[in-house]
């Protein structure tokens, strides 16, 4: 399930993926032949538990299912009413992306060179939005996994945004030409760390050293509002078999990490749907939401007995 979710998220971005999952749940509810309310609650809880086991954990989904579970256990818990609430949640997820883009409008990128590295749909949308608003800038695309880079290339080509591609390990040769850098993140965790595409940490550190302005785009709904248990970010360790000549195969172990953990202090500005935050402000917002979440969790636990 983790692989499936990750796969979809890579294609659609976190917001798109979460909307797809919510839509799927609504359709499933529509097809479901309910026997008893207790059974519905039990099966919804099963799904919620499944979603919580997925790695990485998707904060938007976990939040949404908290809300759904609240409703299923309440008196307004008929299937039709739940489907209606899912629709509302979906709309609010879509809306917060619009708010984030509005906040991004204050960034002055006109005539500048913007470095991007990771495969973030939020960054893509932000750049497209600024371009639509009349800002003319050049994108310098630092290469990473081929499929992710190619998707970025396709995006900029489709939206007629001028871009150049450079291997990430050759960035030091172009540092002077870079004015600012845009990054996306999977989530923001307890301890003030962003979970980002692998390789982001070294590029951000390099740019920080050179005094370049670093923007990070993330909706607050993607905050991981739970304690971090794992410290190891290694998810994929796989053996690759590649052809050498025609018939001989070389088997070797290729170690691949799924994410980097990057401290918020390395980032200058975090663009969210609630506005642009400095590092310290973002930490405060996280703590506020975390406290709020703990209250909701307790309420649900009490309801579910």
């Amino acid at each position: 399930m983790s692989a499936l979710f990750r796969n979809i998220e890579v294609d659609l971005g976190t917001h798109g993926f979460c909307i797809l999952v919510l839509e799927s749940f609504a359709v499933a509810l529509d097809q479901y032949r309910i026997k008893t309310k207790e059974q519905l609650l039990q099966q919804c809880t099963e799904i919620f538990e499944l979603i919580q086991t997925v790695k990485p954990r998707y904060a938007i989904l976990i939040d949404s299912f908290y809300k759904i579970l609240c409703q299923v256990s309440s008196e307004k818990g008929s299937v039709a009413e739940i489907i209606e609430s899912i629709d509302q949640i979906k709309k609010s997820v879509q809306h917060e992306m619009k708010d984030l883009l509005k906040a991004a409008e204050t960034i002055e990128a006109d005539g500048k060179t913007v470095l991007i590295y990771d495969h973030s749909h939020t960054v893509q949308n932000a750049l497209h939005h600024l371009h639509k608003k009349g800002q003319r800038f050049n994108v310098l695309l630092a290469e990473q996994d081929l499929d992710k880079t190619e998707d970025n290339v396709e995006f900029f080509h489709t939206h007629k945004i001028p871009f150049k591609v450079v291997p990430a390990y050759m960035l030091s040769h172009l540092e002077e030409t870079i004015d600012m850098a845009f990054f996306g993140a999977v989530t923001f965790q307890e301890g003030g760390r962003f979970v980002m595409d692998p390789g982001s940490k070294s590029i951000i550190s390099e740019l920080k050293l050179e005094g370049k302005k670093i923007f990070l785009f993330l909706t607050t709904s993607k905050f991981s509002l739970w304690p971090v248990k794992e410290k190891n970010s290694q998810i994929h360790v796989k053996s690759d078999i590649r052809a050498h000549h025609i018939m001989n195969k070389i088997e070797f172990e290729r170690i691949k990490f799924s994410h980097d953990r990057v401290s918020v202090d390395l980032v200058d500005c975090v663009v969210t749907e609630k506005g642009i935050f400095k590092a310290s402000e973002l930490k405060k917002e996280f703590d506020r939401q975390m406290a709020q979440r703990e209250k909701v969790e307790e309420r649900i636990k009490m309801k579910l007995g």
Binding site: N7, E46, I47
Partner: protein, 444 residues
């Protein structure tokens, strides 16, 4: 006189040794089977058993042309995205319900295998089934097993569905329609028996999931994924329409072969080249030609020469005489051919086996020329070799490819786990065919 006899007997032995070595090489696949067949063929020429002209004349170019033409049509159809689209529509229509996923995917495999190459159908259907079924939290094993087996049964239905049918059909002159009409009943009953067996044994896994919200949820996530993937692929309607029209025209050509009075290979080649012409802007001819399985065609060509060597030496005639001498009971002969070809096809690739059997059966049916039901022996060979191919993992190309593909997608199907299902079901389908052929021979 002595020298002539010596030359004749040494020719016989050389042909036999080359045949046995080639056959062993093909069965054990130590080398690529096309290379083995070609080496066998050239050895016959080098040893003087056959002259170069005789070797070339022994190749049935109608079969080679028909196979090449169908490969072209299938390749262009695959490139158009038609198969992926059909798979997506089926998955969507099933609404993630295992009962319907099983039914739709096995039936489309059967129909697809009848009118296209069954290996291609397995290549397309198996990965999508594994992804869909595994996403639902089920084990895709039974789905893949059923698809592989049904691809062989469906492939047996038409002249173009399975290479042994092409071999027999073109050698004996059976029309496309005669295959469809003659084999409809045993094939339909075999499919029904297979579906009934799977549904009965695995009802727990195949029953509808209306009351299981987590499974409904997961199946809808998967369907949505398929949907956006499908939407993301820019399919050209014009391209697809051309493919569908050309394919339908080719099938119509097959159906009206008698009226057109054209060899079936000419009809297929017309369809293939016309299609290449109309899609010339969308897909380059070089690409299509590069996708033709030349090694398969080479395998067939080499095999024809090796069997011609045997024929030339007179061994096949001796074999045919001994089969005729075995019994004068026609019913028993039908059963011997059906079950022997069924049994042998479970162990060895049915293509070389049928290639050898054709000249033998030509002589045998010659002995029954007065019997209006003599052709039933050919149908026994066709049904036996096609259905017997289901018996083990190595019995048919679709099995090997299907199992291999399943493994690549993380589903291990061992020889024994395959055998547990395939052997009893193969016996059931052979019993159905036996009953059908005997009723036909005795009551019609």
């Amino acid at each position: 006189m002595f020298l002539e006899n010596f030359a004749q007997s040494s020719g016989l032995w050389i042909a036999l040794v080359i045949f046995v070595l080639t056959f062993t090489g093909v069965v054990f696949e130590v080398f690529d089977k096309s290379v083995v067949a070609m080496v066998g063929a050239i050895s016959l020429v080098l040893s003087g058993v056959l002259s170069f002209d005789q070797a070339v004349e022994s190749i049935n170019f109608e079969i080679i042309a028909l196979l090449a033409a169908m490969m072209i049509i299938v390749e262009i159809a695959e490139e158009s995205g038609l198969f992926t689209m059909i798979n997506f529509k089926l998955a969507k229509f099933s609404k993630g319900n295992p009962f319907f996923i099983f039914l739709f995917f096995t039936l489309i495999t059967a129909i697809g295998s009848a009118f296209l190459d069954n290996v291609t159908i397995v290549l397309i259907v198996v990965p999508i089934t594994i992804a869909l079924v595994r996403g639902l939290g089920y084990n895709p094993f039974i789905y893949v097993m059923a698809e592989i087996m049904i691809s062989n049964i469906g492939g047996a239905w038409t002249l173009i569905g399975d290479p042994p049918n092409v071999l027999v059909g073109t050698a004996v002159g059976f029309s496309f329609n005669s295959f469809i009409v003659t084999l409809a009943i045993p094939i339909f009953l075999s499919i029904l028996a297979l579906l009934a067996a799977f549904y009965t044994i695995h009802w727990k896994d195949l029953k509808p999931i209306h009351h299981h919200l987590p499974k409904l949820f997961m199946s809808n996530v998967l369907l949505k994924k398929l949907e956006y993937k499908h939407q993301k692929t820019h399919l050209s309607k014009a391209y697809m329409t051309k493919v569908v029209i050309a394919f339908l025209l080719t099938i119509l050509g097959f159906l009206f072969q008698g009226f057109l009075n054209l060899p079936i290979a000419v009809i297929a080649a017309t369809g293939a080249f016309l299609l290449m012409l109309v899609v010339n802007k969308q897909i380059h001819a070089h690409h299509i030609f590069s996708k033709i399985e030349w090694s398969t065609l080479g395998f067939f060509a080499g095999l024809f020469v090796v069997v011609a060597g045997l024929e030339h030496s007179g061994i096949l005639n001796v074999l045919a005489q001994s089969i005729v001498g075995m019994t004068d009971n026609f019913n028993l002969l039908i059963l011997i051919i059906l079950w022997a070809s069924g049994f042998l096809s479970t162990l060895v690739n049915n293509v070389p086996f049928v290639t050898v059997m054709i000249p033998i059966l030509m002589t045998v049916t010659g002995h029954y020329s007065g019997n209006p039901h003599a052709d039933i022996l050919w149908w026994a060979l066709i049904l036996g070799s096609a259905l017997g191919g289901n018996g083990t993992v190595i019995g048919a190309s679709a099995n090997v490819i299907g199992v291999d593909l399943a493994q690549k997608n993380g589903l291990k199907i061992s020889f024994l786990s395959y055998l547990k299902y395939s052997l009893p079901l193969t016996i059931v389908t052979l019993v159905i065919s036996s009953a059908y052929l005997l009723i036909w021979a005795n009551y019609f």
